[in-house]
């Protein structure tokens, strides 16, 4: 039942504005891929192109070998879950869920049975006769989910399905969505702007920016080894420092940054390091110390904030403003001169580019 989705060199325009640029994406059978990005990055456009509500200017969309590109939306057989639920206000819960079956010529007992079974699965069997207006947000989203799943679509797509729910329910619902998706093995595309949501439920995540996919990988790789500066910043590498290798010595290299400051970095942690590179560090990856003997980036500390697990400092260095964390045992005041010591496990190496 489930099928793979392929987008091949898709470009799309709103009037003369290009919103997608030569975008290619392959979602494997049974896989859940999230499109993650800020508003205006093209993630919803991508979803609407696949659904058929928008037409690409070029490129092809195929689902299980079937070319969807010119197919009208009602013939595409895709389950959609909307941000605002989009339930039919004049139909009962059962009729909402049964709507897609009715379009497929399934009626009578067969329909009642499938609707009943689906409502059981989302735990709403007791509300079958209610109108949507009488449901809570979470219940509405379950009905929307049931309505999309009951037609057993080869592809499910979610457009920010949890944005209108409160924080606690959001976490419960995303687990529920993932469980249902896994159990059915339905190929899925999930659009969201919430990084935690995307990372927690996806097999792979596509981070999008300005109509392009910046990186498509598993959440683990994205989080630890971003491929470029944009993704690095997106996943929380606050400090990007341009460096040049000045000396290679077996398992270590020495590299220099602006202001002539040198650091020694172990090769085993980073693998191959090109002659010119960017050292990307999370705030946790730069430890603040007032021990002047340590090798690190000399800094003048600025504002200190309390994170619970550490103190965070705004620091002025010859390489620019950086953000670094220091131990709770030793709070340092603004104006103190300190060293920022890179922690290789919390840092990664990026190819040089315009930062």
């Amino acid at each position: 039942m489930t099928q793979s989705l392929t987008l091949d060199s898709i470009s799309a325009h709103y009037g003369s504005t290009q919103v997608l640029e030569n975008l290619s994406l392959a979602v494997g059978e049974g896989e859940l891929v999230s499109l993650l990005g800020a508003s205006g990055c093209g993630k919803t456009t991508t979803l609407r192109l696949v659904a058929g509500f928008l037409q690409p200017t070029s490129g092809t969309i195929t689902l299980g070998g079937r070319d969807l590109t010119r197919l009208p939306p009602h013939q595409r057989d895709i389950g959609l879950v909307f941000q605002n639920y989009a339930l039919f206000p004049h139909l009962s819960v059962a009729d909402n869920v049964g709507f897609g079956l009715k379009q497929r010529g399934i009626s009578g007992d067969a329909k009642t049975k499938r609707v009943g079974a689906m409502l059981d699965r989302v735990g709403l069997a007791h509300l079958a006769d209610r109108l949507p207006a009488a449901l809570s947000g979470g219940q509405k989203q379950r009905v929307a989910l049931a309505r999309a799943l009951v037609i057993e679509p080869p592809l499910l797509m979610f457009d920010e399905p949890l944005s209108n729910l409160d924080a606690k329910l959001r976490i419960d619902m995303r687990v529920e969505i993932r469980q249902l998706q896994r159990a059915n093995g339905t190929t899925s595309v999930y659009v969201t702007h919430d990084q935690e949501e995307a990372f927690s439920i996806s097999d792979r995540v596509a981070i999008m920016h300005a109509g392009r996919i910046m990186q498509l990988d598993t959440p683990e790789i994205l989080y630890q080894r971003p491929a470029n500066a944009f993704v690095a910043r997106f996943v929380g590498f606050e400090n990007l420092i341009a460096m040049k290798v000045v000396e290679r010595d077996g398992a270590k290299i020495t590299a220099e940054m602006a202001g002539g400051i040198r650091l020694t970095l172990p090769l085993e942690q980073f693998g191959a390091i090109p002659d010119s590179f960017i050292l990307a560090c999370r705030a946790d990856g730069l430890q603040v110390t007032d021990n002047a003997a340590m090798e690190g980036i000399p800094a003048t500390l600025g504002l200190r904030t309390y994170l619970g697990r550490a103190y965070q400092y705004q620091a002025e260095t010859p390489a620019g403003a950086l953000i670094a964390n220091g131990p709770l045992t030793r709070p340092l005041d603004a104006g103190v001169t300190a060293k920022l010591v890179p922690v290789p496990e919390q840092c990664t190496i990026l190819a040089p580019e315009a930062v």
């Binding site: 009602h74 389950g79 989009a86 039919f88 379009q103």
Partner: protein
């Protein structure tokens, strides 16, 4: 719980009510008068002037014409207005802002001017049949009401509901009838009633577009008044009022009048 209400406020309220209700009471009283001339307060009580309406052939015919024109022009306006309101709301972002104003123009232009230009440029120029010209004119003046009212109920309609239906396999045209229309039902009913009342009470357009052998009730009323000064005029007015009140009562029962005030 008591509140201090300023005596001037009470006086003002009473005056406004008298201003609104007073003429209606006078017309109703005059219609029930037993005299052969218009008078208030009524002298004697009689329903004979109501009987008189149906005895005068011209009134009988024009009541029928008025109802027919009102019904047909309303249906025509709905057939044009619902899709137009749909398009204006569905594609509001892509469409230029002045486009929706364009559809309101017929009520902005003085109706006398509209009626005259329809007479000159339609009835005279193309020698179009009177009935068709009249129907066209009425459709034109009720169309803005239809579009306004349907737009108001579409403004709160979430079009992703329509997309949800389409994604579930319902073709767009079928979706329009099975999903969209049932959800703007109240708007359609309100539009129907408003358009119907507007048409049946219209004088300014009809006065230009009626002609030999074809007249509407308000026009016939005007003609009758030129010759007679009997309470028939008042009783026809009461009849029109009752029709309007009946229609408003239906609105009130289905949606509440607050809907129209929006």
């Amino acid at each position: 719980m008591t509140r201090n209400i300023h005596p001037l406020l009470i006086a003002g309220t009473v005056l406004v009510f008298m201003f609104l209700v007073g003429p209606l009471i006078i017309v109703l009283g005059a219609a029930l008068s037993d005299t052969t001339y218009l008078t208030f307060p009524p002298q004697g009580l009689s329903l004979r002037w109501f009987e008189n309406i149906f005895q005068i052939d011209a009134f009988r015919r024009t009541i029928f014409t008025s109802l027919q024109i009102a019904l047909l022009s309303t249906v025509i306006a709905l057939i044009i207005g619902i899709p137009a309101a749909y398009a204006l709301n569905r594609h509001r972002i892509q469409l230029p802002g002045w486009l929706s104003t364009l559809f309101i123009l017929p009520v902005l232009v003085p109706e006398l001017v509209l009626g005259f230009s329809l007479l000159k440029n339609l009835a005279v120029q193309f020698n179009s049949p009177i009935y068709l010209s009249l129907l066209f004119g009425h459709s034109l003046i009720v169309l803005p009401y239809v579009i306004r009212v349907i737009s108001a109920s579409l403004a709160s309609f979430d079009f992703s509901i329509e997309e949800a239906a389409i994604s579930l396999g319902s073709p767009p045209l079928k979706t329009f009838f099975t999903i969209l229309l049932p959800n703007v039902r109240s708007g359609v009913i309100a539009a129907f009633i408003l358009a119907f009342i507007t048409s049946i009470n219209d004088v300014s357009i009809s006065i230009f577009l009626t002609g030999p052998g074809l007249s509407t009730l308000p026009i016939q009323l005007l003609a009758h008044m030129e010759q007679f000064f009997d309470p028939t005029v008042a009783s026809v007015s009461v009849l029109l009022m009752l029709l309007t009140v009946a229609v408003m009562a239906v609105v009130e029962r289905t949606l509440g009048l607050t809907f129209l005030a929006k």
